[in-house]
Symmetry: C2
Subunit: 348 residues, 2 copies
């Protein structure tokens, strides 16, 4: 099995290194690794955020373990050369459409949330976000209005096939959890959302055992603060999912804890922490590697079909936290490497 390692920018290399140590310590036979350049690092080295060799490696691999991309040096480049295009390009070129973002509070960290402890502790939700369509990938550009004014535009759209695919992902996930699916849209304003809602309702006929509800995105943003414990699985589009999943991650406490998976139809997957490249602390050994370590666990579970190995990692992380392992984002002083050490020490 081939794993592509894409450390990327900022804290990316430091956190991916710790995830790699944990993977190595599992002693799994037959895993091979190849490293690739992505993001600002790739742009600086070879002039493109997603070079052809990187994309080729990604396609050959069974799974991608991704650090983070984003580099302030690249902010004024043309859009197609910016670091973010690496992640958008990989999602699109490989058909990685199903972005799974679980949010759950580790009991030891319930105090770290800005939410009251009893509100935060109740969080155990999964956001299933579509990542191949929506306003992200429609035609976009700058044009002039009839009056000669500069105008920026982006076309938002979903077709029924795209919605059907992600809806099935949402229903499946709900079935494997507590059987509740909340579809989030803005059908009172958007035609894209109206189609979304219509198709989700059509698909729901195949899942009579799942309780489906619909919520407008503005209300969902409210409910995620008021009572996040009410949610089991949320399924939503690319744009709303981007916003709500970051919001949910912060409800959990530190964004340094949250892993994600993005899958395509052949179960190839890209695994990455939800947080970004944090250029302000890059290279200082301050980054929390646990979101990446937990992303490696998701990789074992979803793309490599090794659920017991995934369990081993997740249990080790829980024990490390219970034992007091805390990086600065969790209110402690442990370095990136020390956090990795703490996980390794409890791995069994």
């Amino acid at each position: 099995m081939l794993i592509a390692l894409f450390p990327g920018d900022g804290i990316g290399p430091e956190i991916v290194a710790q995830a790699r140590r944990v993977l190595d310590a599992l002693g799994i036979d037959g895993l091979t690794y190849e490293e690739g350049l992505v993001g600002g690092a790739a742009y600086k080295a070879v002039g493109h955020p997603l070079p052809p060799e990187t994309l080729d490696l990604a396609k050959r691999a069974d799974a991608i373990l991704f650090g983070a991309v984003g580099d302030p040096d690249c902010d004024s480049l043309e859009r197609h050369l910016r670091p973010e295009q690496a992640i958008l390009g990989l999602r699109k070129a490989m058909g990685l459409f199903s972005n799974l973002r679980p949010a759950k509070v580790f009991p030891e960290l319930a105090d770290a949330s800005a939410l009251k402890k009893e509100v935060a502790s109740a969080i155990d939700l999964l956001i299933v976000r579509e990542t191949n369509g929506d306003v992200y990938f429609g035609e976009k550009g700058m044009r002039k209005t009839a009056d000669g004014l500069r105008e920026g535009y982006d076309i938002m759209s979903y077709n029924e096939e795209q919605v059907r695919k992600i809806a099935h992902q949402g229903f499946h996930a709900a079935r494997a959890r507590r059987g509740k699916l909340c579809s989030v849209d803005k059908a009172n304003v958007l035609e894209t959302s109206q189609l979304w809602r219509d198709v989700v309702i059509e698909v729901s006929a195949e899942y009579p055992d799942v309780a489906l509800s619909h919520m407008y995105v503005d209300n969902a943003a409210m409910q995620l603060v008021r009572d996040p414990g009410q949610f089991d699985v949320i399924v939503t589009g690319n744009m709303f999912g981007d916003i709500l999943s970051d919001q949910a991650s912060m409800c959990v406490g530190s964004i340094g804890m949250l892993a994600s998976a993005t899958l395509n139809d052949s179960n190839q997957g890209l695994y990455e922490p939800i947080h970004g490249s944090a250029p302000d602390i890059a290279g200082q050994g301050k980054a929390n590697p646990l979101a990446t370590v937990l992303s490696a666990a998701m990789m074992l579970r979803y793309s490599l079909a090794m659920p017991e190995q995934a369990d081993r990692i997740e249990a080790a992380v829980a024990r490390a936290l219970a034992g007091g392992a805390r990086s600065p984002d969790l209110g402690g002083t442990m370095s990136t490497v020390e956090m990795g050490d703490a996980v390794l020490a409890t791995l069994n």
Copy 2:
């Protein structure tokens, strides 16, 4: 001065009635009122959510005091007949582009927030949301793809003039407050946002005394949970403003407390609570009227140039809360009318 009263649907009539009582108690000479039909109520009475007589009244009025629209009976109507079209139609037809949504915690209610008390208490922010453009008002519809699939689409766009106008509103508001403006966009993905950011930066040259920052919308949704006290004024587009302002309102505790104003170039304004029509509790006397009462205060301040009268209302609300007035959403048992009574009792 003519005030148009548009109670609308659900709890709308109950809460507007209390705001009217408070306005009457101020004893201001020369205020006249005319009531109009909007939303589902208007559809049921005359077949359209925004009948011509209503729009005509709105245009003649100096200000509109609006309850809420939204009626589950109307959910399957064609889009242009749904209750929400009343508010969207008024915003567009009257050029009401500058939606001001202040969020601040009344000290007595700091415990009501799902956020920790110290986090919630620090909230004192204003969201300036553009409400005449964006994906709300672009071309939209259903079409077929080349493969014959149903597809919903909505065009998102802003031109430089639209952004310039709302940017000025944001800078002005920041200047009158703590001098900090945060512009929220998704410029790493959207061309609409790139133009937004470019123009906000251009406009900033006229406001060297205001500290401008930029934040991606996903990060803003995170920061509004993590540390909402960091924000003074947030300026953003229609779609992101819809989501973030509802999120911020819930951070404050009850959405039953938050007022809003939407202004056009001639200072005509539409004043409404941020919350919706709450059909589940309509007609039961359980709704909290304070957001509507506080919207009436904003109306006096912005459209009627009576800041002292606005102060009188706001002070009375604060005293009523300090005196223990609590509707069910605030953890109490007082009825809509009793909440109105409590404000009247402390008005001086």
